[in-house]
Symmetry: C2
C-alpha cells in the first residue's frame, strides 16, 4: 500500500486490487513488437509497434476482446480510434481514459501503453469488485499518436477534436519504403470503423490520461506522481538548405556551396539558440541529395522541433534561428568565390502551450493526496505532446505522470519500476472514482 | 583547326576528321539515362545511368555493336569490363584508351562518357581513313567507375590491376532499396564475361584516358588542355557517432547526448581542418537513427572524403580530425549532467597520391604542343580518382583533361563546350598516334 496517505477515499478503500496484474499485462502484451534488448531479463527490451501495422492489429484485437469480456461495448471510429464503453448506473456521456498502443520504431514498453493498460486495469478492478460507476467509462485507444509511421502525431485525436480534417488523416502517407496511405492501411487491418470521428457525434464528458513523464524531473526531485497542469508550446519545421552539387575531389574549398556544411552550422545554431532561451530544439530527421561519398550535397532537408513553456518564446527562438540561418547561407565558407546558399523553412506544426482544465487537475491532485504525502507529488508541465492536448481543446482534460528512469523515452531502455506503475494506476483509479462521484454531485 | 599549333605530326595531318560526330554521339547516347533538365535546349540535361542497370546494358550493347562494326574484337571480362580491340599491323599488347559509361545518380553528359566516346572517335577516324596503327588499340569501358550504385569506386579497374580481389567486387551489394550483388546484376544484364579480369592474363601495353577536369582550374586560367601528371591522395572513412535517443519534448538540453548535434560539429570541424591544410573534405552521405521528428538521434553515420596532393597531409588532416572529434564527443553540450558520446572512424579507402608515367605524360604534352600554343596547355593534378589511377599501378598511364564549366561535375549542369570536346579529342588522337609510333621506334 502507498505510504502515509494524507486521507483516503472511502470507495477506493473498498476495492480489492489485483497485485501485479497491470505490470504483467504490460510485459505480456509487449510480445507484439518486442525489440531492442538492453538487459539480461526477458522483459528488458523495447517495443516497435508502428501504427496500423500487423502488430498494431494484433494488440488491438486482443484489447477489443479483453474489453468485451469485461462487458464493454466497442465503438470503432473512422480513423480507427477504439472506444470501449464500460456501462454506468446512469445514462450520460462517458468519462474518458485514453492513451495509445502504437510506439516509435525504437520505442519502449511504457509510452502510451501504460495509459491504455492502466485504464484497462481500472475496468478490470471495477469488474472484479462488481463496482458500477455512476456514469459510463470510455477507455480509448487513440490511433497513431506517435506520428512515427504516418508523420502527423496525435492525428486521430486531432480529427476527433476537429482540429485536423478527416481527409488529411486518411490521406497521410506512411514513411515506409513503399509508402501507403493511412486510410488504406486502416482498411487492411480492419479498423476502418463506421462511427463518426468527432467529439460532437461521439462525445466524451471528460478525458484523463496517465503517462510516463519522458523526462527526468520527477526522478531527480524524488517525486512519485506528477499532476500535469499543461503542455509546452512547440513548432515543427522542415528546413531545406540548397547549395550546389559538385565533385568532392576537384572542387576547391573556396568555391563550394556545400549544403551539408551549411546545414550542420544551422543545426548547431538552432540547438544553441533554443538552449539560450531555456527552450528545447531537436533535429530528428535529415535527408540529403545526391547521397554519394564523393559528391558535395546540393540539398539537405531536416526537421526542427522547437519547444518552450511559453508561446512567445517559441516565436522568439524561431525568429532568431531564421535570421541567423539566412546569414549563415550568405557567408557560406567565407570566400568571395563561393556562391551563397538558400534556406527555406516549411512550417509543419504549430502548437500553442496547453492549460489543462482546473476541475480535472484538482481531481487528480485530490486523488494523489489521498494516497501519497504532499512532498511526493508535484505539479508538472508536459514536455511532450499527447492526445490529451487535443482532447483539452474540446472537453475538460488532464494527465497524471509517473517517473521515467533517467528521463528516457522513445528508446528501448525506457523504464518505470513496477512500484511506480502501481502508484500511477492507484492515482488513476482514485481519480476516476472521485471524478465519477463529483459528476453525480454536479461539481464537475 | 586548332589555333597556331607549334608543330605538327605528319600522320595526324594526313587524317580527315569528322566534324561534330563525337559531340553528336555524346548527345545521342545520353538518351540512355537523360535526366535533370537545366536549360532550354534538348541537350541541356544530365544523365543518370547507374552501373549494371538496364540503361547501362543498353549503352553497352550499343557500344559493343559500334566497335564490332569498326572491326574490333570484343572481350568481356569477369567484372564486365569491355575491351574492344582494334587490330594493328603488328602483334603486341594493345595500347589502351579507357574510361567509363556509368554515371552518378545526378550525373552529367561528360564524366567518363567523354573518355569512352573520344576513344571510339579515334577508332572511327582510323577506320574512315583506312589507317592501321602499328599495334592494336584496346578501347576499354571500365565497369562501375563511379561507385555510386555499388559503393566501391573504380572497382573494376581495381580488380584488373589486382588491387581489389575479384570476390570483393562480385559480392559488393548495391545501395538500392532492395540491395543486389554486383555479381548477380552483372549476370542479369549479360555482361558476366569469361575473360580473366587481370592485367596479367588480359594485359595492356599502356593506358590513356581523356576526361573533363571536374574542377575550375583550366577554365579560370583560360587553358585548353590539362596534361595530367598525377592524382591527389585521398582517404574515405565511415564515421559513426553514438549518443542516446530520447524524447524531444521532455529531455532537458543539458542532459542530452544528441548524436546529430555532435555529428554536425564534427562535420564542420572536418571541413575546416582540411581547408586549413589546403586539402579537401566532403561529407556526401549521412544516415541517422531512429529518424523521427520528436526523437533525439542516437546514431549518426556519415562518410568523410579527405584529399590532398601530398600523402602525408592527408594523414595529418585525418589525425587532427580524429583527435578533435574525440574531444567534441567528450565535451558534448558543455553540461556535467550530459553523458559523453562516442565516435568511430571506419576506414573504407586509402589511396596514395598518384604519379603518372613520364613517357605517357611526355607523349600527351608533345601531342598537345603540336596542336596548341604552350600558354594554352598546363600540367595539372587530378582531384578525382580515375580508373587510370589503378591502371598506373601496373602499366604506364596518363590522362588528358579538358575544362569543366564552373568546375562542375556529378551534377546535370556539368558542361564542356563542343570546341573543348573537339580540342581534347584531337590531343587524344595525336597522343595515340605518337605513342604508337614511339612504340615501333622502341622509345616507349
Amino acid at each position: 500500500m502507498p505510504s502515509a496517505a494524507t486521507g483516503t477515499n472511502s470507495t477506493f478503500n473498498t476495492l480489492k486490487l489485483s497485485k501485479d496484474r497491470l505490470i504483467n499485462t504490460i510485459h505480456e502484451t509487449a510480445k507484439w513488437g518486442a525489440k531492442g534488448v538492453w538487459g539480461p531479463n526477458p522483459t528488458d527490451t523495447g517495443v516497435c509497434r508502428l501504427a496500423l501495422s500487423d502488430l498494431d492489429k494484433q494488440v488491438r484485437d486482443w484489447f477489443v476482446e479483453e474489453c468485451k469480456n469485461l462487458g464493454c461495448t466497442i465503438k470503432i471510429d473512422q480513423v480507427g480510434n477504439i472506444f470501449a464503453i464500460y456501462p454506468g448506473k446512469n445514462d450520460g456521456l462517458p468519462t474518458g481514459i485514453g492513451s495509445h498502443l502504437d510506439t516509435q520504431p525504437s520505442g519502449g514498453r511504457y509510452d502510451g501503453i501504460l495509459g491504455v493498460l492502466s485504464g484497462l486495469e481500472v475496468l478490470r478492478t471495477f469488474k472484479d469488485n462488481n463496482y458500477v460507476p455512476n456514469y459510463p467509462i470510455a477507455l480509448v485507444n487513440w490511433t497513431n499518436e506517435e506520428g512515427a509511421r504516418f508523420p502527423v502525431s496525435m492525428v486521430a485525436s486531432g480529427v476527433w477534436s476537429e482540429n485536423i480534417p478527416l481527409e488529411t488523416c486518411l490521406n497521410t502517407m506512411s514513411i515506409d519504403k513503399v509508402p501507403v496511405s493511412f486510410g488504406d492501411e486502416l482498411k487492411t487491418i480492419g479498423y476502418d470503423g463506421a462511427v463518426p470521428c468527432s467529439y460532437k457525434e461521439n462525445p466524451l464528458y471528460s478525458h484523463f490520461e496517465i503517462h510516463i513523464e519522458q523526462g527526468p524531473i520527477l526522478e531527480h526531485e524524488n517525486k512519485k506522481i506528477g499532476v500535469v497542469v499543461g503542455g509546452q508550446a512547440f513548432e515543427w519545421n522542415l528546413i531545406t538548405v540548397t547549395g550546389r552539387a559538385s565533385h568532392a575531389g576537384s572542387t576547391p574549398m573556396d568555391t563550394r556551396s556545400d549544403a551539408l556544411y551549411t546545414a550542420s552550422k544551422i543545426i548547431q545554431l538552432a540547438i544553441e539558440t533554443a538552449k539560450k532561451y531555456d527552450g528545447l530544439a531537436t533535429v530528428g530527421t535529415l535527408e540529403l541529395e545526391p547521397k554519394s561519398v564523393n559528391v558535395i550535397p546540393n540539398i539537405v532537408k531536416f526537421s526542427l522541433d522547437v519547444r518552450h513553456f511559453e508561446d512567445d518564446k517559441v516565436a522568439i527562438i524561431m525568429k532568431e534561428i531564421k535570421e541567423q540561418a539566412e546569414h549563415i547561407c550568405q557567408i557560406n565558407i567565407n570566400s568571395k568565390k563561393a556562391k551563397p546558399l538558400s534556406v527555406n523553412f516549411d512550417n509543419l506544426v504549430n502548437s500553442k502551450a496547453v492549460k489543462f482544465h482546473p476541475n480535472n487537475i484538482a481531481t487528480v491532485k485530490k486523488a494523489a493526496l489521498e494516497l501519497f504525502k504532499p512532498e511526493e507529488i508535484r505539479e508538472i508541465v508536459s514536455g511532450a505532446g499527447h492526445d490529451s492536448c487535443y482532447c483539452n481543446t474540446r472537453i475538460p482534460t488532464s494527465m497524471i505522470f509517473i517517473p521515467s528512469k533517467d528521463g528516457l523515452s522513445h528508446t528501448p531502455e525506457e523504464y518505470s519500476s513496477p512500484e511506480e506503475v502501481d502508484n500511477g494506476f492507484k492515482v488513476l483509479l482514485n481519480t476516476i472514482i472521485l471524478y465519477d462521484e463529483a459528476r453525480l454531485q454536479g461539481s464537475v
